[in-house]
């Protein structure tokens, strides 16, 4: 009896969330899959079952170079966010000794996450531009004679902005993993004569792996699907898969956009499945 009512109340409690996911996540994704087989002309989309959207997409060399470019952004962003995020989390977890300071410094890192991404991208313009702060400083110091052109509207700017926006996604899960490491393990390592670096390598890094995996999933998926950073920071000179989809949407070529979207989704899911082999998410909460 009691378990019957509690079961019923569980279903009652989960229904709103399940319903929203069904209507605004599952059905839309199914719609994309269906429409990716539809035909279209200049004005509308036409129900059909054709494979042209895919054959055109996969047969075009442009697609492959765009994927390569997107993977390049994802890989570079992943390396930098991992190195920076790990170092920051390590400092917070093991070198800041009072809980209050840990919380304060952690908050200091997270606050920018709650502000607008677009504004955070724009805020690099006065810094990196042709007459920006960095170029003026370099010229004044006599390091370069002419403003460096590659700073803004370039691959460099895209990766810089990605790192700026998403390093937090690494810091939080890695910090979380590190805070769970039993401090006596570290002492044991030290007592056994391990140097700080050896402790880091053979105790802290292996035990931080779940955090690293979760952070990597976040960073890689968000960069793989990104279009706004690439659009704004490359000044329209580079492409990414997300940008290609958004351009096709702009041209009202919805079935083509849908086919691109399906391929992107499969790519992202493959990457995530690979990373999930390293970690059981449900255990990490």
């Amino acid at each position: 009896m009691a378990s019957d009512t509690s079961k019923r109340s569980s279903y009652f409690l989960i229904t709103p969330m399940a319903a929203i996911f069904a209507v605004f996540l599952v059905i839309p994704l199914l719609t994309i899959v269906i429409v990716s087989f539809w035909d279209y002309d200049e004005y509308r989309i036409l129900p059909d079952f054709i494979l042209e959207n895919y054959s055109y997409l996969l047969g075009s060399s442009v697609t492959w170079s765009i994927y390569l470019n997107t993977l390049k952004y994802a890989a570079l962003t992943w390396v930098f966010t991992l190195l920076i995020g790990f170092t920051v989390a390590y400092f917070l977890a093991f070198h800041v000794r009072s809980l209050t300071w840990q919380i304060v410094l952690f908050m200091l890192c997270t606050i920018p996450f709650w502000t607008s991404n677009i504004i955070r991208m724009i805020s690099w313009i006065p810094f990196l531009g042709r007459n920006g702060l960095l170029n003026s400083a370099l010229i004044n110091m006599g390091i370069v004679d002419q403003p460096l052109e590659f700073l803004l509207f370039s691959d460099f700017a895209v990766v810089l902005a990605d790192v700026h926006l998403y390093t937090l996604f690494m810091v939080v899960p890695i910090f979380n993993s590190m805070m769970r490491i039993d401090r006596s393990l570290i002492e044991a390592a030290r007592d056994a004569g391990a140097s700080g670096f050896e402790t880091l390598k053979s105790v802290i890094v292996p035990l931080s792996k779940p955090g690293i995996a979760i952070g990597s999933i976040f960073v890689i998926t968000v960069v793989m699907g990104d279009f706004i950073t690439v659009r704004l920071m490359s000044g329209g000179q580079s492409a990414s898969v997300g940008l290609q989809i958004s351009n096709e949407i702009g041209l009202l070529q919805y079935p083509a956009a849908a086919a691109s979207a399906v391929v992107l989704l499969i790519t992202v899911l493959l990457i995530v499945t690979g990373l999930l082999r390293l970690v059981d998410i449900r255990k990490e909460l």
Partner: protein, 278 residues
């Protein structure tokens, strides 16, 4: 005390390197924001970069002239309303789901993996999917229907994960005690569970509001005819070449900071009250 013993312990050299690295990281995070903050007070004849050509509030004034930069006021109000709706829905629904997940039930892992999927599916796919769906069933996308749904797919996972973290550390013996004293289910939630998870719910509220308020990609195809603020800002980046852009950045960032301060403040007040009662 343990603390004072610890602080007397000599810090290793690596501490100073790491502290310097951390400082640089914070500078990296806040430096650009600070530059546009300063530049938004650029003089009337000043440009998008330094030097400052005088000091003025001109660009802030410009922001509120409707014709000059699109519809800042309208899009701000729309984003504010949408953020508040998303916030209320996310808090209530995540709290309910958090309660449900305390017991195993059939299909629990389906909902869990839907939440994870919702987090990692690229935002533009959500936008495209909902846009197409509304297109096919011939409904007009509106910020309070399609965009609301799109935003919820983004805020629910965060809300649910926070609730997981809370209830995993929640001692059920308090509820048992309440029930033993004759409290009904609802009374147990109202007088025992809610006060204990209150600060975390404020966290969920702040997360969901700010995520919705700043969301761009999921709004792109779902907002319909009227822009939300991030769409308006995005439009401005392509056709505005004056510091009014920075003024807008300063105003919206200031507003985000205000929301964060409100949330942190109310958590602190809740904690203090609890401390006084105990």
């Amino acid at each position: 005390m343990a603390m004072s013993r610890k602080t007397r312990e000599r810090r290793p050299t690596s501490f100073y390197f790491l502290a310097a690295f951390f400082t640089l990281f914070v500078l990296f995070l806040y430096g650009p924001m600070l530059t546009i903050f300063i530049l938004s007070f650029q003089g009337v004849n000043g440009g998008l970069t330094f030097p400052m050509n005088g000091f003025s509030f001109h660009w802030f004034g410009n922001l509120f002239e409707r014709q000059a930069v699109g519809d800042f006021g309208g899009s701000f109000l729309r984003s504010l309303k949408l953020g508040l709706i998303v916030m209320v829905v996310t808090v209530v629904v995540s709290f309910m789901a958090g309660l449900a997940f305390r017991r195993r039930f059939k299909g629990d892992s389906i909902v869990f993996y839907l939440a994870i999927a919702s987090l990692i599916v690229p935002s533009i796919l959500i936008s495209l999917g909902i846009g197409l769906l509304f297109n096919i069933i011939e409904w007009q996308p509106q910020w309070f229907t399609s965009a609301l749904g799109a935003h919820l797919t983004w805020t629910f996972p965060f809300g649910l994960l926070i609730m997981f973290a809370v209830f995993n550390r929640f001692d059920p013996s308090y509820e048992e005690a309440a029930r033993d004293l004759g409290a009904s289910n609802w009374q147990t939630i109202q007088y025992v569970v809610l006060p204990m998870v209150g600060p975390s719910l404020i966290g969920v509220a702040m997360f969901s509001f700010t995520l919705s308020y700043d969301e761009f990609a999921r709004t792109l195809m779902t907002a319909g005819a009227l822009n939300t603020l991030p769409l308006e800002i995005y439009g401005m980046t392509t056709n505005v070449t004056t510091p009014v852009l920075y003024a807008l950045g300063t105003v919206t960032t200031g507003f985000s900071f205000l929301v964060i301060a409100l949330a942190l403040g109310s958590v602190a007040i809740l904690r203090m009250r609890k401390g006084q009662k105990a």
